[in-house]
């Protein structure tokens, strides 16, 4: 806590005003309104709102397609997180060695941070294209299995997982690199003197020391896959084939803006809000990035 401060009665409020106005008008009010709407049925195109209590939530709990969207969300998010974390941990370790050309290597990895998820989706869509895609072509040489995402749900899921993980690789590598650089040289040296090397050193020294970063990134990747990948689904699979890639955020959007069931969609937003609250609380309880006030 600082001891030396400025004295002024109005200035601090004035300084905070821009941020707080945005927070209240575009964050709190909409969140509160979503909460309120989740207890109502709203007539399409009309202003008529009918109070239904927990009706929307009961309907969600019993709707098999909502249950499926929850499962798809977790399959997708865990898939993206696992793929992105393993790959980026490997890359960050490679890019943290004392070798020549390091700045080049790092740039050649970190640029992926700039890829917009939907753009990534479009590129991977073509790689997976049933008639023209290079991956489909390569697979057709080794197997007769019809690797067609338009027909097979799991192929479509794989496609969106690859697209999301590719777009999030640079972010993860940056954080792992930052984490690796906080490990003191002396610890590594000591372990090496004790005879640890190669995989042993990684398994028993580097990896445990990185675990706070890994846990932080696990949560950030889950948040990313749940909340920032809408564009991939919307631009690439539109939730299909069938509803095999319909994740929760996409379903909330379709129910709200395509099917015009505002209350039903708001109830889904409330469930998503609960989920992001859990992830944020975990992040601040169990990572080093604590906010102490």
């Amino acid at each position: 806590m600082k001891r030396s401060i400025f004295r002024n009665r109005w200035l601090p409020y004035l300084l905070l005003a821009p941020q707080l106005v945005v927070v209240v008008v575009f964050f709190f009010w909409p969140a509160f309104d979503s909460l309120r709407l989740s207890f109502f049925k709203v007539a399409p195109f009309g202003d008529r709102e009918i109070f239904v209590g927990l009706g929307n939530f009961m309907e969600l709990l019993t709707a098999p397609e909502y249950g499926r969207s929850v499962v798809h969300s977790f399959v997708f998010s865990l898939g993206v997180t696992a793929l992105a974390l393993v790959t980026s941990l490997f890359l960050a370790n490679l890019a943290n060695q004392k070798i020549r050309g390091l700045p080049f290597y790092r740039t050649a990895i970190l640029w992926t941070y700039g890829i917009a998820p939907p753009v990534s989706g479009i590129i991977w869509l073509f790689i997976f294209h049933p008639s023209y895609g290079v991956l489909t072509y390569l697979l057709s040489m080794v197997t007769t299995y019809e690797f067609n995402w338009l027909l097979k749900g799991w192929v479509a899921m794989l496609l969106v997982i690859f697209a999301a993980a590719w777009a999030h690789l640079g972010y993860n590598v940056a954080f792992f690199l930052a984490g690796l650089q906080t490990i003191p040289e002396s610890v590594i040296e000591a372990a090496r003197v004790d005879g640890a090397g190669g995989f042993k050193l990684f398994r028993w020294i580097t990896f445990p020391l990185l675990s706070p970063v890994t846990f932080f990134l696990f949560l950030m990747n889950m948040v990313f896959s749940f909340f920032e990948t809408f564009g991939i689904i919307h631009a690439v699979t539109q939730g299909g084939p069938g509803d095999t890639t319909t994740i929760m955020v996409y379903k909330a959007y379709v129910d709200g803006f395509v099917n015009l069931r505002m209350g039903y969609s708001a109830a889904q937003s409330v469930i998503l809000m609960a989920l992001v609250i859990v992830l944020t609380v975990l992040q601040f309880r169990y990572t080093e990035r604590k906010v102490t006030y």
Partner: protein, 283 residues
């Protein structure tokens, strides 16, 4: 697994270094392949694209493809819109975060805790969970299809506020006292002492927030109706062929390359700042 060894033995017979180089090069080629493939497709004619397997060497139709798609989907306008959104969102977030963090660290006032927690809670309200009602607010304000509507609902930032707060706490009291003795008011202190020392943080945040702004999809999709106000990421998604459309994947890829380039260049040129700013402040 030699690659995971976090240190290198010295000596001319050290094969490990070469393995690491080799693994790095292979990884980079693998990560870069989707981009390269997309680029090659964007230089081919439609005939070349649909002849499987395609040649993996760039062909001669690049200019023609880029010009065609540029005119067809009004790429110039899309790119300008994205640039406006990304710059306004990133600078807006950074500015209001600096002001908030300054108030929280350098002043004592009633309601400080409340203000801090209000900003903190925005972390738990990403766009998808407040989408319907945010849209209603923006439409009530008459901001649909405007830059204000595209940007202002996105510019609160808990992350940036925490980062600046973390940094300001490390500013020694002596500096504040010296400023006071010299008769500098708080705004003068902010402008002449704090800001010039915040360069690394501002640059790191600029990268993160620029990418965030440029890559937005759901909000711009909702907040705009006219093609004139579309951002590029949303605009190019509409070029993806569906059903009966001609599979003009060369044009789609040309558009994708143009949408990809600006944020990737920002990362490449500000990468040094991005990594430094992150790990200096994340500790």
């Amino acid at each position: 697994m030699a690659a995971l060894l976090p240190g290198i033995r010295k000596g001319p017979l050290d094969g490990r270094k070469w393995i690491i180089h080799l693994l790095l090069i292979l990884s980079i080629l693998l990560i870069g392949f989707p981009l390269y493939y997309g680029f090659v497709i964007s230089t081919q004619s439609l005939d070349e694209v649909i002849k499987v397997p395609q040649s993996l060497i760039p062909s001669g139709h690049m200019l023609e493809n880029y010009v065609t798609v540029w005119n067809r989907i009004h790429m110039g306008r899309l790119l300008i819109n994205s640039a406006v959104v990304a710059v306004v969102v990133s600078l807006g977030k950074i500015s209001i975060a600096i002001l908030s963090a300054f108030a929280i660290v350098f002043f004592d006032f009633r309601g400080k805790q409340i203000a801090f927690w209000m900003i903190f809670i925005t972390l738990m309200l990403p766009v998808p969970v407040r989408i319907i009602s945010t849209y209603q607010v923006v439409s009530m304000l008459g901001w649909v299809d405007t830059y204000a509507g595209l940007t202002i609902p996105l510019i609160a930032s808990a992350t940036a506020t925490f980062l600046f707060r973390q940094f300001y706490i490390t500013i020694p009291d002596e500096l504040v006292d010296a400023a006071k003795i010299d008769g500098a008011g708080p705004m003068r202190f902010l402008w002449s002492i704090l800001l010039p020392n915040s360069g690394a943080n501002i640059a790191a945040l600029f990268v993160v927030m620029f990418i965030y702004g440029w890559n937005q999809y759901l909000w711009p999709l909702m907040a705009t109706n006219s093609d004139n106000m579309r951002v590029v990421v949303v605009g190019i998604a509409s070029t993806v062929p569906t059903g009966t459309q001609l599979p003009e994947w060369n044009l789609v890829m040309a558009a994708a390359m143009m949408a990809l380039l600006p944020p990737v260049l920002v990362v490449i040129f500000l990468q040094r700042w991005f990594v430094h700013g992150l790990f200096e402040t994340e500790k």
